[in-house]
Symmetry: C2
Subunit: 341 residues, 2 copies
């Protein structure tokens, strides 16, 4: 149990990375654990989520968010235990999930947090992955943009990752033939054997585009885009008329200072293709909707997920670097404190 | 009045153009005017429509249609007078619009044709432009994809053309600020003064991108894309969050053997942009809906359109070449025969 005299550790941005971010771009700052003001709670962090979108917040130029400035605490979703509360409805010992930061202890408005129902029998970490922002992102992209029909062919890139693994499993539940793209034989095997995708293509293969074409003999009706680059080009070449592309991310270029040219968009006209960018934070209502739908699937094991847990807050910067190049295998988390059980 | 002994002239493809199409790629074939089989009618062509999509049909590779083969009659929409009918409901003297070909006389299923109500007081040519396929295309793109709201900024490329001129006027009726892009001072003046757009940028100007940015101080909420290329890049740089792009055409590249690279699509994710290709022939119900809505606006002069009429079927190939490089000014038509009045 921490109190006003305990120490809070925070990871703050030291300098903006120009390529892959790492420990050298961040510093650990220590100060006292704060006390909550009216409506606020203080939590002790149990898990911190590491997600590709975080790389974008390190850029000076932003499209929809506020840039992290040097000296700022890095942002991120956490699961934590309430240790002090000035918010009705939240008490010490409650476990909550929500947007906070890379900190051992977080001060946050209670209204921004979701209290975790431990009776749902899902592990706490799931609320940052399959039941959290990544899972809800997958749910929104599949149901609002891809809208797969039974028998259609769906491709999902970064298929073993936190978002892609869920997107493909939802598309399978809709009756689609689902082809994943992942990096390396181990991930591809996981995608077909554990997640139940119909096929998975290794994007590191020199024959990736031909392999993908062979796995999609009827073309591609919907694509869940997480990576951009050569995979995007290969999938776009296979799109059928009236294909739908859910543009969730383009992680292959997040470390690039200047983005490479993209596809000529003539095919969008000729094939009447839909390309839809979406940001899950625009859809706050979907979070609870998805959590309620998917928690039983997590509990009964029918929605499969895999986690990659890094130990210790100080290793969060290197973990972020790794997720951008695919060194993680499954939903990437940092364990900051113990699960109170 | 023609009959079974009259001569039919047809423009047939001689060889596939590799760049701009012209007379050298086509031949005139003469034969006898046919007689209609059951359900068919024969029409004497009055106007032939020339549209950018026709260039695509000359390519060997097709996305949604059937390629014109050397020796085939070139396809196109016409307005014509029925001279022989074996179709109940259509009689000699009726004037009809519909898909036929580059011919002095066309044999067509009566069911594929729309009988023109001369009491609507719209000129016959309008049924190939503002009330025909181009007008319906504009209507579909604005109402189904762009969905402009009052006060939003809408950009329309090829703004003086058959589709763009209608798209912008519909967006104005919805209360949007509408900025056109057109080629040359005369077209830009027409777009603002006659069509009533709020501004029009000359895409031939060396400062086009800066001019467009200055005309869109609040960014761009919706874009009606007809041209591609540098104009597309300039508009995409100005798109706001949740912008909608109606992908109707990319005429600037229709003569290219190899298409140039396109935009990096990172902005689609970050700004949650919608890019939607659409083909009006997928929406047969919209034709009559638009015609009924817009015919009164044509009759009362509140929906402005401009036509560019080329005389003589033999000049259709050069006219097609011209529309791809913007030599026309307004809806491009070929006058093949007289209006029976």
């Amino acid at each position: 149990m921490s109190g006003a005299n305990a120490t809070r550790r925070s990871v703050v941005l030291k300098s903006r990375p120009t390529g892959e971010p790492g420990a050298e771009h961040f510093a650990i700052r220590e100060d006292a654990v704060p006390s909550p003001g009216p409506g606020e709670v203080v939590t002790r962090t149990i898990f911190l989520s590491i997600d590709p979108y975080m790389r974008g917040r390190l850029r000076e130029q932003q499209t929809y968010a506020v840039a992290i400035q040097p000296g700022d605490v890095m942002i991120g979703e956490t699961v934590g235990e309430v240790i002090a509360s000035a918010c009705p409805g939240l008490s010490p010992g409650d476990v909550v999930a929500g947007p906070r930061g890379w900190q051992s202890h977080c001060l946050a408005p209670g209204a921004s947090l979701v209290k975790i129902d431990r009776a749902a029998r899902a592990p706490l970490s799931a609320y940052l992955g399959v039941l959290g922002m990544p899972g809800t992102t997958a749910y929104a992209g599949v149901t609002e943009v891809m809208k797969p029909k039974a028998g259609e062919t769906v491709v999902v890139s970064a298929a073993s990752g936190a978002v892609g693994s869920v997107a493909g499993q939802i598309a399978k539940r809709a009756g689609a033939r689902v082809v994943g793209v992942a990096g390396g034989a181990d991930k591809c095997r996981f995608v077909t054997e554990a997640l139940g995708f119909d096929a998975c293509i290794d994007h590191r293969s020199a024959t990736m585009a031909a392999d993908l074409a062979a796995a999609c003999p009827n073309g591609v009706d919907a694509y869940f885009e997480n990576v951009g680059g050569a995979v995007q080009a290969a999938v776009f070449d296979l799109l059928n008329r009236h294909a739908r592309v859910a543009m969730c991310g383009m992680v292959s270029q997040y470390n690039d200072a200047v983005f490479p040219p993209g596809p000529n968009l003539g095919f969008v006209v000729g094939k009447a293709v839909l390309i839809q960018g979406f940001i899950v934070s625009d859809r706050p209502a979907r979070f609870a909707e998805w959590r309620a739908m998917a928690a039983p699937w997590v509990a009964d094991g029918s929605l499969v997920f895999r986690e990659d847990v890094v130990e210790g807050l100080e290793n969060a910067p290197a973990a972020l670097g790794g997720i951008l190049t695919g060194r993680n295998f499954g939903k990437l988390l940092v364990r900051v404190g113990h699960d109170p059980g």
